[in-house]
Symmetry: C2
Subunit: 465 residues, 2 copies
């Protein structure tokens, strides 16, 4: 018994944490409860029930189906439902009148054929790429049409049936929208805004995490990788976030779609707020995140540059990384605060740190090809580090693991060459430099967004000083 | 008028093409039409209508809402609907009886409070990550509960109301499932199978396209990139496909979720077919595709290795690429044909071509750092190519474009260093080698899938020869 109680406690605690993590979840749940209660009152009380009669149950259905998490999504679904119902209602009345006129024998045949056609056509149309977001609307057309025409056929009064249904749907829609919009509204725009800012931070965090690990990694946990599941690194929490940024395109797009339906609200005060620009900035950020994934790939690749070689470039690499991460965070913060700040100082410092890294590579380029020099050419270039033969060690490690076999599952353990091992560092730095180059596009995209969305100018007085 | 007719023709042609592209789209549409027609016949004919009376309209709603594209999705939605309705029905009867017993004053209060609680609790539960796939089920619970308890309150007989509703839902569900399963069924498993095979081919195609372009690229269309929209390369159709592979995780997951509901069918004959393994193979393939994205990044990066330098490694690079692409296609074909073939020859040839590429880099490593040697050390290493100064040209091109400015939108055009330009080739080859290394994991994942799914062994007689 105490065990069950303990389990129950753990469970309650989890639920409590889940609710605390995002208080909107609780708000949303209570709002749904309120909306269905309000619509049920129309039946529970005698007076409204006498006015609306049984067709009011359609309002309940409408509330339960229309009520979505965000205001925009509710509007979007309501639009689908109302327009779909209207269209289906008008069509149903027209066909029903036509069927009525054609006599009692032809009537059910005409109705049956029309149902088949409407079912086929709406189902085909909702597969069309442009109409995919309105999938629900086509579903509404289909069942509203069937319901009206079929119950109209039985009651013999299709117009009354369809009008009753339409106003009860309208009542449900009004209650759903009123509760959703007026009581603690959850705006899709706000969510989109936060989601984008979060993506900026996770790319910056993930970049720093990856580079820090690369610089501190002494190759000891290298073999571990091949045993763990692909793409799962328990000690790299930020990597997971960055990867989820890569998969966030669908989420951003659906939030932007919902946000377009929302009236100006909160901080987003002007009409036609450029929500689609958020999606574009998200795409450019994703484009930068691909480089982080590639950096991460080098961090976990089979062929590794010796640690001593990495440490030569440590200062430059970590400087460029920190500057780049700062710039990304600064861009994220600007979006978060809806401000336009002058980022030229930061941009210039990112640029110069990237140049410094390139110069360092330039100066020490011979190191990256030095093992060749040592073994074949005996050139006189001095080696400033003593542990440089570590790459040979790594190569031996590789050769040890290499086996000949027939099975498919066998690994292709490539022979590690000294130069290739050293060049892996070149790869890492090139990717980092490419990442910095891509930040241009990000700066540009954010600048474009901030102009379209009329973010406030800040630090303008710096020009005057 | 002839213009309108022309437009109409173009439009009809597009629809025709869309239907021809995947004939299942037409099948699906006609099946929906048939299902709603069948359920409507229950009302249109006098005999069944007298048995079922008006509550039969719930069958129409059920068919329209339950009918999904694939068999698995229909089962999944039907399960949600039926279980949700059952649960809501039982709960509603219990609460309604309780309310009835508590007298006419307390009855509407108890009903109202119960509606509020059910609304809040189901809405909160459907946000819980584990329950997200069953979102629709919670919605069904909510509106079925409200409908039954409210109309039960008015009719004074909640048990009869709920039983009527349940059997009409059951009729709708049976019709939807029968039509979906028995007439030209569209299996989610089959779709998932095809989708995965398609991803294999698009990664292979995209790799070849990218490498071919890298080897044939003379830098002339380089500046074009900076003007076009990020991530949009009209002349690289395969790149787009590969990128869509990266975003396909949600699609694969939802197909696998649906496929789990399907009975054994067609080629997938044994029970508990490992559909979730498909998702895992998809994840490993995506992991390989990240490297293709990185290769693509080098192809379009600002700092480029001179063309002449690339041509030195052309044979090795294209050999490794073709071998790797062959292996991927072969893995894809094995999945497609559901066979286990011995891939050791192919794996070995991929391995050896990757080694040859590494050896080539090893041998010519001095070239990758040679501009440094030339300018500062005057080393005696011979330069076998005459146009090697092209990298200087590129660097000048960069310096020309470089400007000092204050605006945020301004590009950070980094100074291109000769070594860095040459090292960009090292980056490209390293990424290619890393890609090949990752194929291990892919071979392993496919092997695991083929064992779990009991693919047929082939070429076993090779062992005997």
């Amino acid at each position: 018994l105490p065990e069950t109680r303990n389990k129950f406690k753990v469970w309650m605690y989890k639920i409590w944490e889940f609710a605390k993590e995002d208080i909107n979840r609780v708000t949303f749940s209570l709002k749904v409860g309120l909306a269905v209660l309000l619509v049920s009152l129309l039946i529970l009380f005698q007076a409204p029930y006498q006015v609306f009669s049984t067709s009011i149950i359609w309002s309940i259905l409408t509330v339960a189906i229309m009520f979505e998490y965000t205001v925009g999504a509710t509007f979007h679904k309501g639009f689908n439902r109302v327009l779909g119902s209207l269209f289906a209602g008008v069509l149903a009345i027209a066909i029903a009148e036509l069927a009525l006129m054609s006599g009692p024998v032809a009537e059910p045949i005409i109705i049956g054929i029309s149902i088949f056609i409407i079912g086929s056509v709406t189902s085909f149309m909702k597969l069309w790429p442009t109409f995919v977001p309105y999938e629900y609307g086509f579903r509404v057309i289909l069942f509203t049409y069937c319901l009206i025409i079929v119950s109209g056929y039985r009651s013999g009064n299709p117009i009354r049936t369809s009008i009753e249904r339409l106003y009860s749907i309208a009542i449900g829609a009004i209650i759903a929208i009123a509760v959703n919009t007026l009581i603690f509204p959850i705006w899709a725009g706000e969510q989109l805004h936060k989601e984008l800012v979060k993506s900026f931070n996770s790319v910056a965090d993930s970049l720093e995490e990856c580079v820090n690990k690369y610089l501190s990694n002494d190759g000891s946990d290298h073999s571990e990788f091949t045993n763990t599941l692909m793409d799962e690194f328990p000690d790299e929490p930020q990597y997971k976030k960055c990867r989820s940024t890569l998969n966030s395109s669908a989420k951003l797009e659906s939030l932007a779609l919902s946000a377009k339906w929302e009236p100006p609200h909160g901080r987003f005060r002007h009409l036609f707020y450029p929500w689609s620009e958020y999606v574009k900035v998200g795409a450019v950020l994703r484009y930068c995140a691909y480089e982080v994934m590639a950096l991460h790939g080098v961090l976990h690749s089979e062929i590794q540059a010796p640690y001593n070689l990495r440490s030569i470039f440590e200062t430059e690499i970590s400087e460029a990384t920190n500057k780049a991460a700062d710039l990304i965070r600064c861009l994220g913060k600007d979006i978060c605060d809806m401000k336009q700040t002058i980022k030229s100082t930061l941009v210039r410092s990112v640029r110069s740190s990237s140049e410094r890294l390139q110069r360092a590579i330039e100066t020490h380029a011979y190191l990256l090809a030095s093992s060749y020099q040592l073994s074949d050419h005996n050139s006189s270039i001095p080696l400033p580090i003593n542990g440089f033969s570590k790459s040979n060690q790594l190569a031996e490690f590789k050769r040890e693991n290499e086996e000949e076999g027939e099975m498919n599952s066998q690994r292709i353990l490539s022979v590690s060459w000294e130069s290739t091992a050293a060049l892996s560092l070149a790869t890492f730095t090139s990717l980092l430099i490419e990442f910095v180059a891509r930040l241009d596009h990000l700066v540009e995209a954010v600048h474009h967004l901030s102009q379209m969305a009329k973010f406030q100018h800040e630090n303008l007085n710096i020009f005057l000083l």
